[in-house]
């Protein structure tokens, strides 16, 4: 079995093991944690294997494999990775493992919870390794749909409504996306040759400009909805607020990254002319989203809403950087995806811990938690500082790479937009400090909070797992950024 397919198969095996062998919470989480641990080890191994393979293999994708799946329409199960997918896979594995730790004490239908969570992960992994549009789309749907169950069953608050809103909006986007993908497919014989779903075969074809202009926005929006593009972001605040902790982590940390990844790998890479023609429009939308999300976050009362709007802001920044069309900004966009994935997962985990103890997420009702829960408080402050782009953490590297890259754009309008977007760092610090200052610092808001239980070992493990890569990227970013730059080269050649 090849190194990549295992990423899809292992989750399925875990799901089967959970189905047949797990009897109660203890067994379910044991199987999950072992399985996700294996997955995590595999992803670390993949990084090293990739670096080793990259030294001798100059193809765009390495570890490729191609199996005919459905011959009539030329659908293949074709896989392969470049640096971008490798880091995304690693991100997914980390967040999942941390998510399992955070869900250690889930008491409601634990087995089913872990089954849904891990089934979802197989879709995410499959999405990142696919190089065939159709297979990719199938995995995408696998990743999106269990979300409905996860929020609808294990969520809190108006969970059914939120779950439905989230699922319907994402399904609507999928519908648009599938039109875009089929549009690409039916134009993939523009230079003669058979119709194909294979990304790299399509990349050799000059799709007619008229078709690109039509299908690019469809594909872009289809992916950008899950990447929280304004004004299609409204599923995210309510969805995240209602979702259980681990699901929020996974969703904001990983699933929302599928959007940026899809935009980059499919919409922009396959439809380069359309991308250039439409870039200004989407650029303004995403720049607006950055500022808008940040301002909206200031006024939120619920911790999860703050974080959800912050995610809107930060992920709009990813799209913004992607639309800047240069290597540095793209590198920044990918690092930002990683960084935001880790940090937002940490934030959701922390919010979950605070909520689990105090049973409220309202900022006004919380205060002075750090005195009672020093570990959680300290990590909260660190996460907050990292989130607002303090040097030494991944957020700084990502944002600066984006800003510097974006500012290298030769067009004045783009540079002015960059300045506008840069100003979001101030707004970000306002809402982060407001949140941290209110709930962690200050006097204790409620005497009942005096005896809140301290952080347990599994909570600490989950947080530290996430914190380590944040600091690693923040302190030594060079290796990562160079690795990504190499993989961005094909995009550069195709788009410019």
């Amino acid at each position: 079995m090849d190194i990549l397919s295992l990423f899809v198969i292992v989750p399925i095996l875990i799901v089967l093991a959970l189905t047949f062998f797990a009897k109660d919470l203890k067994q379910a989480r044991l199987i999950s944690v072992v399985g996700m641990g294996i997955q995590f080890a595999m992803s670390i191994n993949l990084i090293f294997a990739y670096i080793k393979e990259r030294a001798v293999n100059t193809n765009i994708m390495v570890f490729t494999k191609d199996v005919v799946w459905y011959e009539t329409f030329n659908i293949h199960y074709s896989i392969g990775v470049d640096a971008i997918s490798v880091v995304m896979i690693a991100l997914t594995a980390v967040v999942l493992l941390a998510g399992v730790f955070i869900s250690w004490k889930i008491d409601d239908l634990p087995k089913e919870f872990f089954i849904s969570l891990i089934a979802l992960s197989s879709g995410v992994f499959g999405f990142f390794i696919s190089t065939d549009l159709f297979t990719m789309f199938v995995f995408y749907e696998i990743a999106v749909i269990p979300m409905y169950l996860l929020i609808g069953i294990w969520g809190s608050g108006p969970k059914e409504n939120s779950a439905m809103k989230l699922t319907l909006m994402l399904m609507g986007a999928s519908a648009v996306l599938s039109v875009g993908i089929l549009g690409i497919y039916f134009n993939s014989n523009a230079d003669g040759g058979p119709l194909t779903f294979n990304i790299f075969e399509i990349a050799q074809v000059n799709i007619p400009v008229a078709a690109q202009n039509i299908f690019y926005p469809l594909t872009f929006i289809g992916f950008a909805v899950i990447g929280a593009l304004f004004p299609f972001h409204t599923w995210s605040p309510s969805g995240h607020a209602s979702a259980p902790t681990a699901v929020s982590m996974l969703h904001a940390g990983v699933l929302m990254k599928l959007g940026g990844y899809g935009v980059f790998r499919i919409a922009m890479y396959l439809l380069p002319v359309g991308a250039l023609n439409w870039s200004d429009f989407f650029l303004v939308l995403s720049a607006f989203g950055v500022i808008y999300g940040a301002f909206a976050a200031i006024m939120q009362k619920d911790l999860k809403y703050v974080n959800a709007y912050a995610s809107v802001s930060h992920l709009s920044l990813v799209l913004f950087a992607l639309l800047m069309f240069n290597r540095t900004a793209w590198t920044g966009a990918i690092i930002q995806s990683l960084s935001h994935g880790l940090l937002t997962a940490m934030f959701f985990a922390l919010i979950g811990m605070v909520y689990g103890r105090t049973h409220t997420r309202e900022i006004e009702k919380l205060g002075g938690i750090m005195k009672i829960l020093p570990f959680i408080g300290a990590i909260y402050v660190i996460t907050g500082l990292a989130y607002l782009g303090l040097p030494g953490f991944s957020g700084f590297v990502a944002e600066m790479t984006i800003f510097v890259g974006a500012f290298q754009h030769p067009d004045l309008f783009h540079r002015i937009l960059t300045i506008v977007v840069v100003s979001s760092i101030v707004v970000t610090s306002v809402y982060i400090l407001r949140m941290v200052g209110k709930i962690m610092m200050g006097p204790l808001s409620n005497e009942e909070y005096k005896d809140l239980p301290k952080a347990t070992w599994f909570e600490k493990t989950g947080l530290i797992l996430l914190l380590i890569p944040v600091i690693m990227i923040g302190v030594l970013p060079l290796g990562l950024s160079e690795m990504l730059k190499e993989s961005i080269q094909p995009f550069l050649e195709r788009l410019l």
Binding site: S238, V397, F407, Q408, I425, V426, G437, G442
Partner: protein
């Protein structure tokens, strides 16, 4: 010559921070204080050695050389990359000495001051983090490295101001400091982006070298509102400096920052971090001076002059001793700024530059001393307010003497350190801009006045009702005081112009006697007025304040800057922009999405109605359909 070992100077505090931070629970308080002091002791030893080594041997043909040791940290484009490393030149060595000295003194002092505090180890961890960041900033080889450490000092300042995090005022002050400086840093960042876009480099060496292409080509770049982009870039970078150095209009965070523990105020908000803005301008001085005839530099000069005057005026009215000192700091930094601003480049004309650095050095000593002395007083009487103090000279002789020395020094009393550096600044201002000179002289008088107002109020006058008799602070606190007092007297005799100059070439600076006489007599007049007003309790000050009525009130309330900012942020940014963004999101964007859902539901309800289950409805549709089809068929058939 090899200075690569200097990299250890910031790394030792970093290691300290990591150790103290990770094991803050496990390390007992007694050890962590010593550990911190020991680490900083090593750093200060190293930096003194470096200074000695550099100033003795660092010259080549009479010019101080610049040594750079760096390592690529992150690559952006082919040209732009961030390096981390150390840059050794006169000002960085000088700053390194200042930072390590003050930091070491503060470490020693804190062992006594923070004794018995819950977060003792945490405090030392933060101090180490700050020392690391500040040293990294000082030694930065390029703009971006400076920005990185600039942010880190901001964050450590946030942590230290908010050290008493259960106190709401401390949290608010910490947030305010961070956000205000962050806003200023936004200017810094945009400035960096602008400059790097047009020059293709972050490197200080490239940006300031005279024979390179860069500066020559700067005047001819694209222009915006009548100024070249470079001037805008430099002004924006200066905005960062304005924020960190608490110049007008970003000064509002500094008085509130006094919520932090007093040693922190001495270290960060008096001696080191707040002079980062001065250091930044000095670092880029050739660029400021040569681009467009130094327009940006004039901005620096005027901002400095106005800030120093305004701050001195406000300091006269404050009653919280730490706030008086904070405004005094702001005023003195304004001095340094204006000195830089009026300076020229070559030889003796670069006097302002050298005076600014000189004043930075002496100011660090006596202002740290003032803060530590104030800390000692606060430690004794447990209050920040002058009203609660008086007659303390009997109880705290060491504090009293050292405080007096510092006050004399800052007032520019002849023979003390402040006298020399201030004199150089006044000379530089006199030679270049009379308006600024007059305002500086006025500030000198005001400085002497408010300093001695403080001094007389604390140490003279009658005793207050103390809860328990004030006593002298422990040895751990007085030793740093004595050392700094020593420095406050004798630092002035260092021949600074031999070491730190704009063009890196030493020159001879002389005391300009007439100007020195004017300045010191103004200072002495200020002291005498303070003596009359405050030596004995009298109603003079009150009558005086009443005479000025609303002006006094205006100044007392810090010119209502805080209110203005609160109006802008709370009312406009939060109240209007943020509120409307969240309102818009909830009621327009979200509602329209929900609206789409509702429309779908109602349409499907309508369609559902057609499937009524009523036989007759079905039959009607059936017949209607047939009729229509028949009509169509017939129509086609006819044609």
């Amino acid at each position: 010559m090899d200075f690569s070992y200097t990299i250890l100077i910031p790394l030792i505090p970093l290691a300290l921070f990591v150790i103290l931070g990770l094991f803050s629970k496990k390390i007992p308080a007694s050890i962590s204080g010593w550990l911190g002091s020991l680490g900083l002791g090593t750093s200060i030893a190293l930096s003194l050695y470096t200074a000695y080594h550099y100033f003795m041997d660092g010259k080549l043909e009479g010019v101080y050389q610049t040594f750079v040791y760096k390592q690529t940290w992150l690559i952006f484009t082919d040209k732009l990359h961030i390096d981390l490393g150390v840059l050794i030149d006169p000002i960085s060595v000088m700053m390194m000495v200042v930072v390590t000295t003050i930091s070491f003194m503060v470490h020693l002092y804190s062992r006594g001051y923070m004794h018995g505090d819950d977060g003792y180890t945490r405090f030392f961890a933060y101090l180490a983090l700050f020392s690391f960041s500040m040293l990294g900033l000082v030694l930065a080889t390029n703009l971006f490295q400076m920005y990185i450490f600039w942010e880190l000092v901001g964050a450590s300042s946030f942590l230290l101001i908010g050290y008493y995090y259960t106190k709401p005022s401390a949290v608010a002050a910490a947030k305010k400091a961070f956000i205000v400086t962050r806003f200023a840093d936004l200017g810094f960042l945009i400035g960096i982006l602008l400059i790097s876009y047009y020059t293709g480099t972050f490197d200080f060496k490239d940006l300031t070298s005279l024979d390179g292409m860069l500066i020559a080509g700067w005047g001819a770049s694209a222009s915006f509102m009548g100024l070249s982009v470079f001037t805008w870039g430099l002004i924006l970078i200066y905005m960062g400096g304005v924020g960190k150095s608490a110049m007008l209009p970003f000064h509002i965070w500094l008085p509130d920052a006094m919520e932090g523990p007093t040693p922190v105020s001495a270290l960060i908000h008096a001696a080191t971090m707040v002079v980062a803005g001065v250091y930044l301008v000095a670092r880029l001085f050739p660029a400021y001076y040569f681009v467009e005839d130094g327009f940006a530099l004039q901005v620096v000069a005027y901002v400095g002059a106005i800030s120093s005057l305004v701050a001195a005026l406000i300091a006269v009215t404050q009653t919280d001793i730490k706030r008086v000192l904070a405004f005094s700091t702001m005023s003195q930094i304004g001095y340094m700024m204006l000195a830089l601003g009026v300076s020229k480049y070559e030889g003796h004309e670069g006097l302002g530059y050298m005076a600014s650095m000189f004043h930075l050095f002496t100011h660090a000593m006596f202002k740290a001393l003032l803060f530590l002395g104030a800390g000692s007083v606060i430690h004794a009487v447990h209050s920040n307010y002058m009203q609660d103090m008086g007659g303390l000279r009997k109880y705290m002789p060491v504090t009293h003497i050292t405080f007096l020395i510092a006050a004399l020094s800052i007032a520019g009393f002849p023979g003390f350190a402040g006298f020399f550096s201030k004199d150089e600044i006044l000379v530089a201002a006199f030679e270049s801009n009379k308006l600024i000179y007059y305002s500086s002289v006025l500030v000198a008088g005001l400085t002497a006045f408010y300093m001695f107002r403080l001094y007389f109020n604390i140490f003279w006058g009658e005793d207050r009702k103390y809860k328990h008799t004030p006593h002298e602070s422990p040895l751990s606190m007085t030793i740093p005081l004595v050392f700094l007092a020593f420095m406050s007297i004798f630092a002035g005799y260092i021949p600074f112009s031999q070491f730190v100059t704009a063009d890196l070439m030493p020159f001879e600076a002389h005391l300009n006697l007439p100007l020195a006489a004017i300045a010191s007599s103004v200072g002495i007049i200020g002291i005498i007025i303070a003596f009359i007003f405050y030596k004995k309790p009298s109603d003079l000050p009150e009558r005086f304040a009443n005479a000025f009525g609303f002006i006094y009130k205006w100044i007392y309330n810090k010119l209502y800057f805080d209110e203005l900012y609160i109006f802008v942020t709370k009312k406009i940014l939060f109240g209007v922009v943020a509120f409307s963004a969240s309102w818009f999101d909830k009621n327009v964007v979200d509602s329209s999405m929900i609206g789409i859902g509702n429309v779908t539901v109602s349409v499907s309800n309508k369609i559902k109605g057609m499937q009524s289950g009523k036989l007759q409805d079905y039959a009607m549709s059936f017949v209607g359909g047939i009729v229509v089809i028949a009509m169509v068929v017939f129509y086609i058939w006819i044609n």
